[in-house]
Structures are given as C-alpha cells and as structure tokens.
C-alpha cells in the first residue's frame, strides 16, 4: 500500500499548552481512518496539522514524502480537502457559491469552466444538496449546511478528505448516507480521515480507528481490536459494553450512571 502520511514524533503547541505530544503513525492510500477521543485530546489539532493549516509543528509530518507545511498551498489543495465542522458565514453566499469555492485550486481566470460546473453539480447531487443550491447558506439548517460544506470539499476533487466531525448536525439517515458515501469514495481510491465522537459509526465504517488521549495515540487498530470495555473506560471514563452490530461489526452500548472519574 502506498504511504500517504508519515508522522513521527509530531508535537504541536497552541499558545502555552502542548496539545500533541509526539504522534507517530502512518496513513495509507485508500484507507478510511477515524480519529476518536475525548474533548481536548488533540483530534482537531491533528487534523489541522494534516491539512497544512497549522504549519508550526515539531517532528515529522510527511505528506507524499514531503513535509506538509512546505507544500505549495495550491498544489496541496488539489490533493487534499479539509472539511470543517461549521462555517460562520457573514455574507449572503448561496449554497452553490459555497460549493463552487472548492474549485478554487483548479480555477484559472474569472469564470468557471464546464469541468468546474460539472464537478459542483456532481458533488451537490451525491450529498443531496442540489435542491437548495440557490438558497442563502445562512438560511439552511445546521445539517444542511454541513452537507453543503462536504459538497464543497468533494467538488475540490482531491484524493484525500480530512473531516472534522462531519455528522454532528446530521439526522440519522444522513449520518448513514454520509458515511456510506465516504466508504464508497474510499473504495474508489479516496483516503478518508474523519474525526468523530460517534463510536458506532466509526465501528461500522472505518478500516481503522485511531484513539487519541491527552495528545498521544492510545490505540490504533481495527474497530474490533480497539473497541474494548477496558480501553473505553481508560480513555473516555465510561463503562460500556460491546455488542454485535449489523454486518458483524462491534457496537458500543452505554447508558446512564456509568461514568467514572
């Protein structure tokens, strides 16, 4: 398998605090990786380093063999797309305009090409967002906005998707649709790295779960190997049972009053 990312001893400070204390892992092309962990574990920071947004890290973070912070931004954006959880838009952009922004690294000149149009339309079709393409982005519900953001990243036609909690605001159907879409894209050669809090979705769809805890990798393996009561207790402080979900995947069960300190 082709190595996409090679991280070795990756450290990152935000202000005074060191948020990542030496992350070492490799991500291979075509994998679907989910990153889970409690609040403040460093998940989003890791994602922002992988996306090249935060370049002030120490240690190694190679993307296709070169330090990610030394990549030309435009060239990088043609290869990987970052999907933020939310956008706080101040101005009356339509949903379609937001999706079209994903074409920026491919655009030359003022006007979009037929290829740009086609990419935007396709991305909106597979995320169920075509119906509100002309509407003001700010007038959409949280879940609709989140799908538009995903469409924007898909229109970028990169080979890597980095997603920050892509299903936070989505209804059940669209949570499943989004993860199914991501898995299908993986089968077509896309690499997906998604931060999530939903262990069951991670279990059902991911090839691999990376558990972050206090800025370090606590576990990194298949869902079956990672999702064990002891690890969940240690990392999340929650007593949980592991059951059998659909398609033979593990499913995490938890209820009230099962929190430890």
């Amino acid at each position: 398998m082709n190595v996409l990312y090679q991280l070795a001893g990756l450290r990152m400070r935000l202000g005074q605090a060191e948020v990542l204390h030496g992350i070492t892992l490799e991500i291979f092309a075509g994998q679907m990786v989910t990153v889970v962990g409690p609040n403040g574990a460093g998940k989003s920071t890791l994602l922002s380093v992988l996306s090249g947004f935060r370049g002030g890290y120490q240690g190694r973070c190679l993307f296709l063999g070169e330090e990610v912070n030394r990549w030309n931004k435009r060239a990088l954006a043609r290869r990987l797309a970052f999907v933020p959880q939310i956008l706080r838009v101040e101005f009356p952009f339509t949903a379609e305009q937001v999706v079209f922004m994903g074409r920026t690294p491919h655009c030359h000149g003022l006007f979009e090409s037929p290829a740009d149009r086609q990419a935007v339309e396709h991305a909106m079709a597979i995320t169920d967002t075509l119906e509100f393409s002309g509407r003001d982005f700010r007038a959409l519900s949280g879940g609709e906005q989140q799908r538009v953001i995903l469409a924007g990243a898909l229109a970028q036609q990169s080979s890597v998707l980095l997603l920050d909690e892509p299903t936070t605001f989505l209804d059940l159907k669209h949570q499943i649709k989004t993860y199914s879409l991501l898995r299908d894209l993986c089968h077509q050669g896309m690499t997906v790295v998604a931060v999530t809090h939903d262990l069951n979705l991670a279990a059902a769809y991911a090839d691999r779960i990376v558990v972050l805890s206090k800025g370090e990798v606590a576990a990194d393996a298949t869902p079956e190997q990672v999702l064990r009561p002891l690890l969940l207790l240690e990392v999340f402080g929650v007593r949980a049972q592991i059951g059998h979900g659909p398609a033979g995947k593990p499913s995490v069960l938890y209820g009230p009053s099962e929190i430890t300190c």
């Binding site: 009356p92 920026t104 006007f111």
Partner: protein, 331 residues
C-alpha cells in the same frame, strides 16, 4: 455560479449608469450654462465646465469608487459586515496629518499642497504602524489586525482632539471643515495620477475576487482551498489602505459610501466578489458624484459638506432597500 452573461449585464449596466452620472453632473450647478457654449469654446461656460465642475465630478467619482472598493475589501478581510474603509485607522492617521499641517500653518511641502502631503504621509505611517503591530510571527490574522487598527484609530482621534483643543479659532474652523470631508476641483495631472493608481488597485482587487470570497467565509476554509493566507491578508490590507489613504488625503474622510454601497450591491447581486467588486466600484462612483452635485447645488451659493449628503441621502435609501429586499433573503 457566475455566467459570463450575468457578469457582463451587471457590470455594463452599473458602468454605463455611473458614466452617465459623471457626464451629466457637470452640467448641473449654481450658475446656468449652455452645453452649446461649452463645445463652441465660449467662456466663461467652457471655463466653468472644464476647470470647475468636470474635475470635481471626476474626483468625486474616483473617490466614491475607491471608498466602496476599500469597504468591500475590509469587510471580506475582517469578515465583518460593519467594517468600513475607516475601521483600521488609515483615515484617522491621514486626518491627524492634515490637522498637524493646519495647526502649524504649513502651506506647501516640497512644492505640493501641504494638506494633501501630510494627510497622505499620515495615512502611510498609520498603515505601516498597524501592520507592524498586527504581525504575529509571519502571520497576519484578521483579529489582531482589527484590534491594532481600532486602537491606532482611537489614538489618532485623541491626537486630533488634542490639537483641535489647542488650535486658534480660525484653525479650529479649518480642522472641522476638513474632518467633514469635501471634494474640490483639482488639476488634471493630479487627477490622472490618482486615477492611474486607483484603477491599478481596482484591477488587482478584481483579479483576487475568488480569494476574497474564500476569506469572507473563513480563514481555515480559505487555507483549505489553497489560498496563501498571509499573502492574501497582506495584499488585502495594503490595497484597502492604499485606496482609503489616497482618497482621504484628497477629500478628507467622507463617510457612509464605503459601508453602504457594498451592502446595497450585495442585496442586488449577491455576495460573490467577482460581481460585487466591479458593481460596487461603479455604484460608489455614481453615488458620490450625485451626492457631491447635491452638496454644491442644494444651498447654492453655499456648499453643504458632502459627508452630510451621503448619510442623509444614502441612509433612507438603504433602509428602503433593506425593507423591500429582505423578504427575498432569509432575514
């Protein structure tokens, strides 16, 4: 998305409309004039048209276009729909320069009118100062830019108040008049140089439309689509400051144009900067030319400060626009 047809229809109509305003405005004024006399070369109509009114109308057009453009840039850069060309202190720096020249009674500096020179120097110095404060390492973030700009703005304002307090009566009047903003006829060479500079800034701004779109949505969003954040932020800040500084040093701070024209155009054409930038530029030009024509005619032979007209005329117009158009938006 933006079709060529939609782009050119809007740009051509805004452009032609503002050209029509610029062509008609010099014909209106306190003294009656016959257009046939102007073309026949008969003074004093020709004098009035070519040396009193036309350069003034053209300057109003350039200033209005530049202020609207600076407003668009700063609003995108700071992701703040209340940002104006004056938010980041450049105009206050320019005003402080002008007030110093008035208080010290300077008439000319190096053969040029002292007010314009010190005002421009004040704008340039403020711009560099804000930039120096706002740089964090090698990054320029909109948040620190805003804080630095607003702080420098109020320091300059305090300096102006202090000098104003110490000034003699005659100087005090000159200061207040300058701070109200006003447009005067200038020589054609000055006009030509100004136009060249402002139009160059316009084309650079236009070429970066898609970057302003992304930046207006978010820094991380923009960075994720391949925008070089530091460079784009710096370019935007320099462009906006340059436009504001050039205009303010020639006309004083004329308010409202840079705030309201971009918003009115967003209601009409949407937020896409590819369309917003040229339309705002032309609409700003036409709007300020109209306001200045009213300013010099409504109480003729006395003049009303043009800043008064921009707000008195523009305010109600914008409220009307907001009331009628907001149903089609989500507001």
């Amino acid at each position: 998305m933006l079709s060529r047809r939609r782009f050119w229809v809007w740009v051509a109509s805004c452009g032609l409309l503002s050209l029509a305003v610029l062509a008609l405005a010099p014909l209106i004024g306190s003294s009656r004039m016959q257009i046939s006399h102007v073309w026949a070369g008969l003074s004093p109509d020709r004098e009035i048209f070519f040396y009193a009114r036309l350069p003034r109308v053209l300057l109003a057009g350039l200033a209005g276009g530049a202020l609207a453009l600076a407003g668009v840039i700063f609003q995108a850069l700071l992701r703040d729909s209340l940002a104006t060309p004056f938010t980041l202190g450049v105009s206050s720096g320019s005003a402080l320069g002008a007030v110093i020249a008035i208080c010290f009674g300077w008439q000319t500096v190096a053969g040029l009118p002292a007010l314009a020179v010190t005002a421009f120097a004040g704008a340039a110095l403020t711009m560099l100062l804000v930039l120096w404060i706002a740089f964090e390492g090698r990054r320029l973030s909109s948040f620190t830019l805003l804080l630095a700009g607003v702080t420098i703005n109020s320091i300059c304002m305090a300096g102006i108040l202090f000098l104003h307090y110490l000034a003699r009566f005659g100087q005090s009047f000159a200061i207040v008049r300058w701070l109200m903003g006003g447009i005067d006829a200038v020589e054609y060479t000055t006009l030509g140089v100004t136009a060249a500079g402002l139009l160059a800034a316009f084309f650079v701004t236009m070429a970066k439309s898609q970057e302003w779109n992304l930046l207006a949505v978010g820094e991380e969003w923009a960075a994720g689509r391949g925008v070089n954040l530091s460079r784009t932020m710096l370019t935007g800040y320099l462009l906006g400051s340059f436009l504001t500084g050039v205009v303010t040093s020639m006309t004083g701070p004329i308010g409202f144009v840079g705030l309201i024209v971009p918003h009115a155009l967003r209601l009409a054409v949407g937020a896409d900067h590819r369309l917003l930038i040229p339309c705002s530029f032309f609409a700003g030009a036409g709007f300020l030319a109209i306001c200045d024509t009213i300013a010099r005619t409504v109480l003729a032979p006395t003049e009303v400060p043009v800043g008064v007209i921009t707000s008195l005329l523009g305010g109600p117009f914008f409220i009307w626009l907001l009331r009628t158009r907001r149903r089609s938006l989500w507001l």
